[in-house]
Amino acid sequence: MHTEHATTTLAISLQSNWLLSMVVLLPFLGALLLGLLTLSQVKNEQGPSEKLVGLLGTAFPALAAILALFLFAQQLSQGELVWHHTLASWLETSRFSIDFAFMMDHLSGLMAVMITFIGTLIHIFSIAYMHGDRGFARYFTYLNLFLGSMLLLILSDNLVGLFMGWEGVGVCSFLLIGFWFDDPAKAGAGTKAFVVNRIGDFGFILGIIFLFWNTQHFDYTGIQSAIQNLSPTQINTIAFLLLVGALGKSAQIPLHVWLPDAMAGPTPVSALIHAATMVTAGVYLIARMHFLYELSPSVSMLIVLIGSLTAFVAATIALVQTDIKKVLAYSTVSQLGYMFMGVGAGAYAAGIFHVFTHAFFKAALFLGAGAVIHCLHHEQSLLKMGGLRKKMPVTHAVMLISCLAIAGIPPLAGFFSKDEILLALWDKGLFVFWTLGLLTAGLTAFYMFRLYYLTFAGDYRGESEVSTEPFLMKLPLGLLAIGAALAGLLGLPGSYNWISGWLAPAVGAHHPTASPTVMGGLMLISVAFAGVGIGIARSRYKNFALPYTAPTGPLANMLQNKYGFDLLYENVIVEPLRKLGRFGWTIADRLLIDGAITAGTWVYRVLGLSLKQLQFGNLRAYAHYLIFGVFMLAYLYFMRHMPEVFRL
């Protein structure tokens, strides 16, 4: 059915559209192979050879990346080309059919290339990072599985396929956060992520069902044409329910609590799943369903509100964190808030642009942090770092570029995408949220350079020996740093904005109405805020020396407690549920149900004890029973059928 769309394009697309399915299938194939390899060596203390696993585990994502790049290059050269491929039919009923069908338009093409490219780099980095770990092969199995699920999420042409990928990445996230599951805290962090995501997913499922109920379609094109006939209430309900799913996956308030805890996983996992790809799935969903959100201004406003609150709140929490990964985690939450502000304000291309640039500089930051942690032998506290500039020059350069990029210093990547979003807010007249975004930008610059100075400037404050980062770490770091530096050039402001034009067929065009003077002024303001943030960080942390005095006061306490979200959930949700569970266990289960069953056994025990007296081992007594029984049966028979016998 979908291939008919593709016939309008050139013949080459007909010959090679099966490659689209291969992009999704290759990582799954890799996961299958590696999984079997892991299982076959499970009794072996060493596990499968790291060289073999590393090669296989990186080859499949790399192949997928090459294929995705090939398909994307075709799109680049042919303008309106949209790839379609139906791999197999899944469900056929008289009312609807669901296929394993893939679609690569400008939006999913860009996402697929970014995901496979960054994914491959992180696989390479992981070979060095996970060296010597007992779960080396298991790790690569999960990572391949994640990449396959993520591509399924991005490239499916219907919401059911997207949902399968959505759940797949959730499972992989759970498996990888709890990768070192013999530590209860880490296993608990995985469970927390999974449970919080389930809450969002529940809304998502309801949204898909409600959408199908009203439009009879699962595929995007069908939904898009059918949605025009719905009432505003229906549209708002659907938009809100899908948003709940997006909030869970993209760690927005109030479902953001899982992402900082997710840092329990290996650091490359944090880079790939909890920064660059999976957590942006919510933004992707909203951009993908842009035709729905365009019809629902109230839910869009809600998205802007949640996004800006999340961006600001997370940025303030990041100010007081002393764990390098925690700073980056809150920074990710904050940047995701930015993306939500963008898509909520109707600037879908700007939101996706920020997803794109953020993927590069945040992956670089996380991998840089991973290299630091690796070389300091699993030390994550910023207080025990310092002075690493000379010891780890490559990582230092990469981190500096990425910090400048996230802080929004031109011409690095973050500046352009962040500015695009702020401009969209200004254009819509959302000045309150624009101010929040601007403040967040300043805070971001401050805490990122706090991290930078604490890690690289001053003197080394740790005890352990600093080793050097291996080549397999430097390579992906360098490539990502190039991306972090240059990715922004795809979206130069004004009429040079390539990415906005590129995404227009998929997510609609958005033309800022502000005059060049205003745009220039806004840029200057945001750069000034970033500069001030960096300046304060420099003055306070450039020559930082121990002892560290944690900031005190009511404000600092509130930040240390992360605004009490965890405490609130603990007291309002977790503890009552735990009490309910305990009640159910002691009263309902142990007393009522178990009691009833125990009472039942006593009835039979008493019956058995009394009846066994009849069977005392004497054969002649049994003969008496037998004869008595036969006579009773005969008596009953004659009574019933020949009563005249007794009348003789």
């Binding site: 009846l611 066994k612 007296q613 009849l614 081992g617 004497n618 054969l619 002649r620 008496h624």
Partner: protein, 100 residues
Amino acid sequence: MPGLIHYLTVSALLFFIGMAGFIARKNIFIMFLSVELMLNAINLSFIAFSRHLNQLDGHIFVFFVIAIAASEAAISLALVILLYKNRQTLNVDDFNEMKG
């Protein structure tokens, strides 16, 4: 000429003698003999009815009963011998170990 009622009377007498023996006697060997007696009492009534009704069904039953009684006798005699070898007694009241 003896009629049906005579045969049935003899059959009933034999059956109750056998039953009394089965209940009253303690020697396992005698108890088996009593069972045989009961079986043959039933055979007699089958034959009598068969003659009376001019049908062959009763005969067939009797042949089956005789065949089964023969095989049962073979097994039970072997059992009796084994029991005696093991316990040097055939008093059924001594075999009372299997109980609830």
